[in-house]
């Protein structure tokens, strides 16, 4: 699975696509594969703050609940409403089934994220 080259990644399997001072966040193809059928997504409210490295919501498969970790800090500006009724969209195409959009608090935080190549290597090593 080719990981979009214009995204950055975290070791918790989130992706982030930057657009100037804003960004879009979701979970990777690898994450959805590991989870299996996704049945529920719990996202923060618009206007709330997310903090780099901290949990901002959760995603649930039939068997388990997994936290979503913020790749960077920011304020939530939009939510993907589709995911409330069709969370399986994440399984179908994790890289386009975005979860939240944020206004970035500190773009410098992006520098510590993984490139597509680094993320692929990380996934391969994780085994």
């Amino acid at each position: 699975m080719p990981y979009p080259t214009d995204y950055k990644y975290t070791k918790e399997h989130e992706w982030i696509k930057v657009d100037g001072k804003n960004a879009t966040i979701g979970i990777t193809h690898h994450a959805q594969e590991a989870l299996g059928d996704i049945v529920f997504v719990d996202l923060p409210k618009i206007g709330s703050e997310i903090h780099s490295g901290k949990a901002f919501g959760s995603v649930e498969s039939v068997k388990a609940v997994s936290d979503l970790f913020a790749p960077v800090s920011g304020t939530v500006t939009a939510l993907n409403g589709d995911l409330a009724t069709a969370p399986e969209k994440i399984n179908k195409d994790a890289h386009s089934a975005w979860m939240i959009k944020i206004a970035l608090e500190d773009p410098a935080e992006l520098n510590s994220l993984l490139s597509p190549d680094d993320y692929e290597k990380f996934v391969a090593e994780e085994g």
């Binding site: 594969e33 299996g36 059928d37 049945v39 529920f40 719990d42 959760s58 039939v62 068997k63 409330a84």
Partner: protein, 374 residues
């Protein structure tokens, strides 16, 4: 700390790309992504057929002139009602009237019984049975490692298995067993039992790698025309939950008694003494302090094992024993222990999910009942 055990079919599951998980000391498939995963597997069992490796379950044989008396002493159901080939759901109880394990008792012969027990309690149960039947003229054997146990479950299970056996399956009623040739193997125990709430069978074949692999593969091949899928522990759990079948360590345990668990109909108090009887008599007189109910989530959220159950004022009144999405019913369901005043159907309760009380109601159980054949 003992190493994780593997069934004979372990390499086969891995070769099929199954996601493996540790369950009560066993490495088992939780789902098969190539087959479509938990939801697909679950629905295949409800509408067609699914095949499960349940070799992690244990088997204890009691045989001898006093085998029936031995079974009657340790098991709460009445085994004297079992005709040859008949089976019954039961439980082994501690003197306190709480559960050592739940069990299916098969009458295999004139003086021969087979107890099918849980994977996680194999050693405990065998020690228990052996230690509490010494006074009876009866041999107790642990046959758990002798069998690869394969469950074929679903409305098409009978058609599937009939292709592999000379036994007349239509003559075998639910919770009865027979012996026949299966995949060319003679004298195989074929039981019309299961843990899914569907019609189905469990076959007990020799546990050597070659036989196990061959029977598994032939079963899947025979099932192709019925859309059969291999099924793991994930769907096994969602299926039994929809059917309100208890899971040891959740709905039943050494801290829960028969009345609380709602398993009265499998407990024959009119039997002469059996282990746990006196305590149950006393508990019955004292009245229930908590009881098992079915919950359906009303607002968005999935109730899961261990989550607190709250009354409408937000006070904690109980807990979820098992909770999950129900793939066939397309609802989020749970079983929970609550005090008797909350058991009326339609009672509004809340389940605490990540700090929030989420609305649920008490519903009738089992959540799912298979349609009666016309």
């Amino acid at each position: 700390m003992s190493a994780t055990r593997k069934t004979a079919l372990n390499p086969v599951h891995r070769a099929m790309g199954a996601k493996m998980v540790e369950f009560n000391g066993w490495e088992m498939p939780v789902e098969y992504p190539s087959a479509g995963g938990i939801i697909t597997e679950h629905n295949a069992v409800r509408t067609g057929a699914g095949v499960f490796d349940v070799s992690h379950m244990g088997d204890i044989r009691l045989a001898g002139p006093e085998a029936l008396a031995a079974v009657q002493h340790i098991s709460m159901n009445d085994a004297s009602r079992l005709a040859l080939g008949q089976a019954q759901y039961s439980a082994l109880l501690y003197p306190q009237g709480t559960f050592v394990d739940d069990v299916v008792v098969h009458r295999l012969g004139e003086d021969e019984y087979l107890l099918v027990i849980n994977a996680g309690t194999r050693e405990k149960d065998f020690a228990w049975v052996r230690d509490h039947t010494r006074q009876f003229d009866c041999k107790v054997e642990n046959l758990s490692d002798a069998f690869t146990q394969i469950a074929i479950q679903g409305p098409k299970a009978v058609d599937l298995l009939q292709k592999l056996t000379d036994a007349h399956l239509s003559a075998v009623k639910f919770y009865w067993a027979t012996r026949g040739t299966v995949c060319g193997l003679k004298n195989i125990l074929i039981a019309r039992t299961g843990y899914t709430g569907e019609d189905g069978f469990e076959i007990y074949v020799p546990a050597d790698d070659e036989t196990s692999r061959r029977v598994w593969n032939e079963t899947l091949q025979a099932g192709e025309e019925f859309g059969v899928v291999p099924c793991g522990l994930g769907s096994r759990n969602t299926l039994r939950l929809e059917a309100k079948l208890p899971l040891y360590g959740h709905e039943i345990s050494d801290a829960i008694n028969v009345w609380e668990a709602g398993l009265d109909r499998f407990c024959k108090m009119e039997k002469p003494d059996f282990l746990g009887r006196a305590a149950l008599e006393k508990a019955r007189a004292e009245g229930l302090k908590r009881t098992l109910v079915g919950l359906e989530m009303v607002d968005r959220g999935i109730a899961r094992d261990g989550y607190p159950v709250l009354d409408n004022a937000g006070g904690e009144i109980g807990y979820v024993t098992s909770g999950s999405p129900a793939p066939f019913l397309k609802k989020n369901i749970a079983l929970a222990y609550v005090p008797p005043e909350f058991i009326a159907l339609g009672t509004e309760l809340k389940v605490e999910i990540r700090g929030q009380g989420v609305k649920a109601i008490v519903v009738t159980t089992p959540f799912y009942k298979r349609p009666k054949k016309a």
